[in-house]
């Protein structure tokens, strides 16, 4: 039996967590503003949207797939919520609309990937453009303004719960729920098996197509509902809302140790990854470093994360319990 200490050091999320602590301390000592409650609130509020999407994305990436359509979905959904609300519909109606959009996109992605066996990278790149195109057509030049945002969403965007922004709490609770499901529910464990060895999963009688479909459906549903988070965060939405978010989301997952090659990673890692990227952006801002360098640092971090992964996976020693060759 392994001791708790060894188990602790085998935790995959450890390096990124340590990196986060280091970033926070360096920035904090250079700029004490960072350590204040408002500094904390800036980071946690800023990360909420990406964190929610990163949790959903983890479901897909562990299966060795990817969903690039989430940025378009969340943006369109934010717009639809504001639009429906401004026409006098209630909060739950608006959320139903957001969910319906998410389920539709998720079902389309899932159907094409799981049953038509099309590559997810291409399928979701396609739906990214399709959803964005429809969005542009529907929204035209309109902008959702603060007065059009449903009351509860507006409230959540502006207020905190014992100092913690509501939006971050949403992301946090979602992370806990999905994290529990992915560790403890049998059908969710299949996602890891599929990503780890597809052929063996098929031979082992796992209903691969059904699982892949449901995972894409769930990711779509969360992206749809997350439109409320995006709307709450910015109190506005227009045809370009959510543009490019998908790449931040994938970056957060990879930095957080969700292997792009499938089979490994947790939603906790994905959320820590999102926080780290957000913290670095804010830290560089706080240290007065230009925007260009912030993006370059994020890019470097991404490559560093994947290199570390590669290094760790080649370092695994083959077993030789009985003096194997």
């Amino acid at each position: 039996m392994k001791s708790l200490v060894t188990r602790f050091f085998r935790v995959r999320e450890l390096p990124v967590f340590i990196a986060l602590v280091i970033v926070v301390f360096i920035t904090g000592s250079a700029n004490p503003q960072f350590f204040t409650l408002s500094g904390f609130q800036d980071v946690t509020l800023g990360v909420a949207v990406v964190a929610v999407l990163a949790v959903a994305q983890t479901l897909v990436i562990v299966m060795k797939h990817i969903d690039l359509s989430v940025g378009s979905t969340i943006g369109f959904s934010a717009y639809l919520i504001g639009d429906a609300s401004s026409k006098g519909h209630g909060f739950w109606y608006c959320m139903g609309l957001a969910l319906a959009l998410g389920l539709a996109v998720g079902a389309a992605n899932g159907f094409m990937v799981a049953y038509l066996k099309l590559p997810s990278l291409v399928v979701t790149l396609g739906t990214l453009y399709i959803v964005r195109g429809v969005f542009n057509e529907v929204a035209g030049g309109n902008t959702i303004t603060e007065d059009m945002v449903p009351g509860p969403i507006n409230f959540m965007g502006l207020n905190t719960f014992f100092g913690i922004p509501y939006l971050f709490l949403v992301a946090f609770v979602l992370m806990l729920v999905v994290g529990f499901v992915m560790k403890r529910i049998r059908s969710a464990r299949d996602l890891y098996a599929i990503g780890s060895n597809l052929l063996a999963a098929e031979l082992g009688g796992i209903p691969v197509a059904r699982r892949v479909f449901l995972a894409f459906l769930a990711t779509g549903a969360v992206s749809g509902l997350a439109g409320a988070v995006l709307l709450a965060r910015f109190n506005t939405a227009a045809a370009n809302s959510g543009n490019g978010l998908e790449l931040s989301v994938v970056a957060a997952c990879v930095v957080g140790g969700v292997a792009i090659a499938g089979g490994i990673g947790t939603v906790y890692g994905a959320v820590i990854g999102a926080i780290l990227l957000q913290a670095i952006t804010m830290a560089l801002g706080a240290l007065g470093i230009p925007q260009f360098w912030q993006l370059a640092v994020n890019g470097t971090l991404l490559i560093a994360a994947i290199s570390l992964d590669r290094y760790l996976s080649t370092r695994v020693k083959p077993t030789s319990i009985m003096g194997a060759k």
Binding site: A193, S196, N197, I206, A259, I321, G323, K325
Partner: protein, 500 residues
């Protein structure tokens, strides 16, 4: 002893055809609880088909299978497992990122209520490992496990499903001798727990050391079953071979010329050692031996894909540098590799491109590849090899296995090699195409090409080669002239049985 008991499994008169090929023509197998039963036969004798029928991969066309007194429900791997049959393949397929515990219980993870109970699963797995007498930790992931350990995990999985029949398909092929000992221990444990273990192996010494009964198959049918003590290695080999082989492979007479390839004292630590031989122009030399005896490793080293530590490789009097395949190509060596899908072809590229890839320099003008030249070359070779295809632009993976193999051969013959090395040239291809490939090789030898052929199919080596070199465990253990070679002699030397 066993004969008085009721059998666990009874297969009677099993028949199975794939297209026109009759893979099983009447196979019988009876297994009793608490026995280790060897299933023997040459390649193509039908062992794999029989195993796959038990595993639920194939359904037999005729005949019956009874398991524990009930009719065995065929055609589903999942159902086969539920009914108590577990098959462990030579290359186990685990989930590298999951823990061993989850690998053992994948798809049916232990639960308390609705949630997975990791602790119970890990304890149960460690208990199984203990029962098997191995030191493995259920909480580690499967990545990096040796093949031997992966097999143990598969066996633990079989035990966790309460399997009563455990089939091991050539489990020792990739194991070191210590690992083999441990596997034997595990198999005897299973025997003691009243399981029936089916042990498929080509190594007769192992069979005689481990198994209590032996069933021999030939040409899709069972040709004999007896307790091990009533058999000898010689009688088993006779049962396995049992036919004249020479007529199948027409050999053309070729003029034997100068030495083309000379290998002296070749060695690579842990793979092979002290290998010396020659191949002359117009001569076909066969390299025989069991899978894993080092045959493929030697040809890879000669071609320069792998390095070697000791010895020299000389081609037409010029020493070759190790580890440089493109230099070898320039000097006139061609290698048709063992695994055409992985090593021999660009599966999604067109037939034209695949045929031309070794010749790009000659087909190019100012570094630009002329597609017309590519097509011309491919068409020329396609005709010579009677390749069946729609257009040269079709991707290679649309071709049948036999035709794919022809493309690989075309690709290398186009370089006009002086030495052609072919590794398992006819694996998995039909009889007709086989004969074409053999005819092609014979013709090439007549043209003065030196040919080195590696094959697991004894009739092929014996039919084609002028001389046969036999390998065992990385050493060259025998050499036979075409006329002196018999299947019995070669198998005896290759398996380490007493000389005939």
């Amino acid at each position: 002893m066993v004969a008085t008991q009721t059998p666990i499994l009874e297969m009677r008169g099993a028949k199975k055809a794939f297209g026109g090929v009759q893979a099983l023509t009447g196979a019988d197998l009876t297994l009793y609880p608490g026995e280790i039963h060897a299933l023997l036969g040459e390649n193509g004798a039908g062992k794999s088909t029989l195993l796959k029928a038990l595993a639920g991969v194939h359904k037999i066309d005729a005949g019956s299978i009874t398991l524990n007194g009930k009719t065995f429900e065929q055609g589903s791997t999942r159902r086969a497992g539920e009914q108590g049959i577990a098959v462990i393949y030579q290359e186990p397929s685990l989930f590298p990122d999951l823990t061993l515990a989850e690998n053992v219980f994948v798809g049916r993870q232990l639960r308390s209520g609705f949630t997975v109970n990791w602790k119970a699963m890990e304890e149960e797995t460690n208990k199984l490992f203990q029962q098997l007498g191995v030191k493995l930790d259920g909480t580690r992931t499967a990545r990096g496990l040796s093949i031997a350990d992966q097999q143990i995990v598969e066996i633990a999985k079989a035990l966790s499903t309460k399997a009563t029949v455990i089939v091991m398909d050539e489990p020792t092929a990739a194991l070191s001798s210590k690992e083999v000992d441990r596997l034997f221990q595990v198999a005897r444990n299973l025997e003691a727990q009243n399981c029936a273990v089916v042990f498929v192996s080509h190594r007769l010494d192992e069979v005689f050391a481990l198994c209590s009964r032996i069933t021999v198959m030939r040409d899709g049918a069972t040709v004999g079953t007896a307790p091990t003590k009533e058999m000898t290695e010689q009688s088993v080999i006779k049962l396995m071979v049992g036919r004249e082989v020479s007529e199948l492979y027409p050999k053309l007479e070729a003029k034997i010329g100068d030495v083309v390839l000379k290998v002296e004292g070749l060695g690579l630590a842990g793979q092979f050692e002290d290998i010396s031989f020659e191949v002359r122009a117009g001569e076909i030399v066969g390299l025989a031996g069991l899978v894993g005896s080092g045959r493929s490793e030697i040809v890879r080293a000669v071609f320069g894909v792998d390095k070697f530590d000791k010895g020299t490789v000389t081609l037409n009097g010029k020493k070759l540098k190790p580890g440089n395949p493109s230099a070898q190509m320039v000097s006139g060596v061609a290698l048709v590799p063992e695994d055409r899908r992985q090593q021999g072809l660009f599966m999604s590229s067109s037939i034209d491109k695949n045929s031309a890839v070794t010749m790009l320099k000659k087909l190019s003008k100012f570094f630009i590849i002329r597609q017309k030249n590519e097509s011309k070359l491919a068409t020329e070779w396609g005709q010579k090899l009677s390749l069946k295809y729609a257009t040269g632009h079709d991707p290679v993976d649309r071709l049948s296995g036999g035709n794919q193999q022809k493309v690989v051969i075309a690709k290398w013959l186009a370089t006009n090699p002086k030495l052609l090395i072919v590794d398992e040239p006819t694996r998995g291809i039909d009889v007709g195409t086989k004969a074409e490939v053999h005819r092609l090789l014979s013709t090439k030898a007549q043209d003065g090409v030196a040919i080195l052929i590696v094959s697991s199919e004894l009739p092929e080596v014996m039919g084609m080669a002028d001389r046969i070199l036999v390998m065992r465990e990385g050493r060259m253990v025998g050499q036979f002239d075409r006329h002196a070679a018999t299947p019995e002699k070669i198998i005896s030397v290759a398996t380490g049985a007493a000389p005939v």
